[in-house]
């Protein structure tokens, strides 16, 4: 199917028909902010959202997921794999970049079936950003738009005219857009208007200005181990992990067994964990390999700007700015940290 130019009313009708047919998660209002949630009707979909509190990673690696069932008496284990197809509607480009990175993390060397079963059964509709959040800096990280990127099934972009350019990118995307077959093809004028929106996003999604190129971060961090900023910022760190949990590229987890009331059967669950939490690197017997706040604090930035580069060739800060907002103590702005490091004499 080609690229379509879709009026709002038709888009809504399409979304309404999608939610009748399948499970759709979309960005919606939550209090004064936004969150992805099960979508019941098109009118609840807020494509004008700035940023969601949690990233859409929760649909691929839920906060808590059962990964296997077991029987305590017979000592038998059985995998639990969630294969229910779903549509994720309105993901921003920086979050899509993060999902693509997680695809690498969960398949590189060892294939994580639990993550990948959800991922393979998902259809992702990316929406070009309509409203910039107060702390977004995705443009500094080259993640303001989907230009040169993949992983999504459909890209929709709102034009200043109020119409949407709906652009299916994969077979799954084609199938999802079947309901738009009657809509007119996007003409050259519409495509040109879309380019202008994307150009604009590349300029405006930078509420903070990173004064280093993303690809220079690994070298910058490499020479900044003893910079005083780690200690200074860590003194105000609550070790609450908020920056971890709202981060679209934080995927660390813990595993725990839960018993049923028959005290015979139960399940093993995987839960989100965070490297900022005090016991993250503690082993049985009590030794904690990262007992200092500053060690935990700097580890996170090295993880984002260096280690993931070393491991899979990506800078894993995508510029969503969620950590900046989520940190109660206001110490989690990556741009501020990286700029401070860059100012230090070499």
């Amino acid at each position: 199917m080609g690229i379509k130019l879709v009026a709002r009313a038709r888009l809504d009708a399409w979304v309404d028909s999608l939610v009748q047919q399948q499970t759709v998660y979309g960005a919606q209002a939550k209090g004064d902010r936004f969150a992805f949630d099960r979508l019941e009707r098109a009118s609840a979909l807020r494509l004008d959202y700035d940023v969601t509190i949690l990233p859409p990673k929760k649909y691929f690696q839920p906060q808590r997921e059962v990964i296997m069932r077991f029987n305590r008496k017979t000592v038998e284990f059985e995998s639990v794999i969630d294969e229910e197809p779903f549509v994720l509607f309105g993901v921003h480009p920086y979050d899509m970049v993060a999902i693509s990175q997680m695809d690498k993390v969960f398949t590189m060397n060892q294939f994580d079936k639990h993550y990948m079963a959800r991922r393979a059964n998902a259809t992702i509709v990316v929406s070009s950003v309509e409203t910039a959040s107060s702390s977004v800096f995705a443009a500094c990280m080259n993640n303001a738009t989907m230009r040169g990127k993949s992983g999504h099934d459909v890209l929709i972009t709102k034009l200043p005219s109020g119409h949407y350019v709906v652009d299916p990118r994969t077979e799954k995307g084609d199938n999802l857009c079947e309901g738009l077959a009657e809509a007119p093809e996007a003409n050259a004028e519409a495509l040109d208007a879309r380019e202008k929106v994307l150009n604009q996003n590349e300029k405006s999604l930078r509420k903070y200005e990173l004064r280093v190129l993303p690809e220079d971060l690994p070298a910058l961090l490499d020479r900044s181990r003893s910079h005083p900023v780690w200690q200074e910022k860590a003194e105000l760190c609550y070790s609450c992990g908020s920056c971890n949990f709202v981060c679209p590229t934080c995927y660390c987890f813990d595993v725990e067994d839960e018993m049923g009331w028959d005290m015979e059967t139960g399940h093993r669950v995987r839960k989100w964990d965070g490297c900022m939490l005090v016991d993250f690197a503690a082993v049985a017997g009590g030794h904690n390999f990262r007992s200092k706040r500053s060690a935990r604090y700097s580890h996170r930035y090295y993880r984002k700007g260096k280690y993931s580069w070393d491991t899979y060739g990506e800078i894993s800060c995508v510029g969503c700015g969620r950590c900046i907002t989520a940190c109660t103590a206001n110490i989690a702005n990556p741009v501020e940290i990286f700029n401070t490091l860059a100012e230090a004499p070499q």
């Binding site: 004064d32 509190i53 105000l236 609450c240 965070g274 109660t328």
Partner: protein, 243 residues
């Protein structure tokens, strides 16, 4: 397998935590398939001095209570402190901020001198005896009690969270209470409640007490950032005796 014998006792408290156990309803029946209650004043008339697990609610406010608690400790293989009054002293600890005689007169007026109304400094259970496990909260979350009991049944040490409420609040995808210009005790309070208050549009009251190593320095600096004072914070911490 022999069912462990459980006794539930209460001291100075509102008994709201025991009520949470009664409120478990169907789950309570499942629980009773694995344990044998031998004394539980709120739900049964039997009494017993022979039990494996003692679940104790409330704080200690009189010397005779302290002695009774020591007796319970002697008999029980495992002693579990149930709820904020037992684990922290709780709201009852507000009394410790005032002169004891003044408090007695304010509450009992002319009857204050009756021996039966004797009162002392409020203590949490662990200030009187060794406590094996703590179930925090005002009131407790029944899910945490069942977790602890299940752990004991299969011989696993229950591990209460040593991270702040912010963790569970983020997992619940709540809007941060600081966004609403409120002082929330979430960043320094031990999780385990599934961020019950912030999930229902209230700040965290700190009823579960602080994490092992709360960043007090950060808390005071943060107050300034949000245009509050350390006094504002202290007032909030006083409520459950965790100042």
């Amino acid at each position: 397998m022999i069912k462990p014998r459980i006794a539930i006792f209460d001291f100075a408290c509102c008994e709201g935590c025991q009520l949470q156990i009664v409120n478990m309803e169907e789950e309570l029946l499942s629980l009773l398939e694995h344990v044998q209650p031998v004394e539980w004043r709120e739900a049964m008339s039997d009494q017993s001095d022979d039990y494996d697990i003692a679940i104790v609610e409330g704080s200690i406010t009189r010397e005779e209570d302290a002695n009774r608690l020591r007796e319970i400790r002697k008999r029980a293989k495992t002693l579990i402190a149930l709820g904020a009054c037992a684990t922290l002293g709780g709201v009852n600890k507000l009394k410790n901020l005032f002169d004891l005689e003044e408090v007695k007169t304010a509450v009992y007026a002319e009857s204050a001198s009756l021996p039966i109304l004797e009162t002392a400094t409020v203590q949490a259970l662990h200030e009187v005896v060794d406590v094996d496990y703590r179930i925090e909260g005002c009131p407790i979350d029944a899910a945490e009690l069942t977790y602890v009991i299940k752990c004991l049944l299969i011989g696993r040490a229950p591990a209460p969270p040593n991270y702040p409420v912010c963790v569970e609040c983020k997992l619940a995808e709540n809007v941060c209470r600081y966004d609403y210009d409120e002082i929330c005790l979430g960043p320094i309070t031990r999780a385990g409640c599934r961020a019950r208050c912030p999930s229902n549009a209230f700040w965290c009251f700190g009823c579960r007490g602080p994490v092992d190593d709360p960043n007090v320095h950060a808390a005071t600096q943060v107050m300034e950032q949000y245009g509050k004072t350390v006094e504002d914070l202290k007032v909030k911490l006083t409520l459950f005796g965790t100042q």
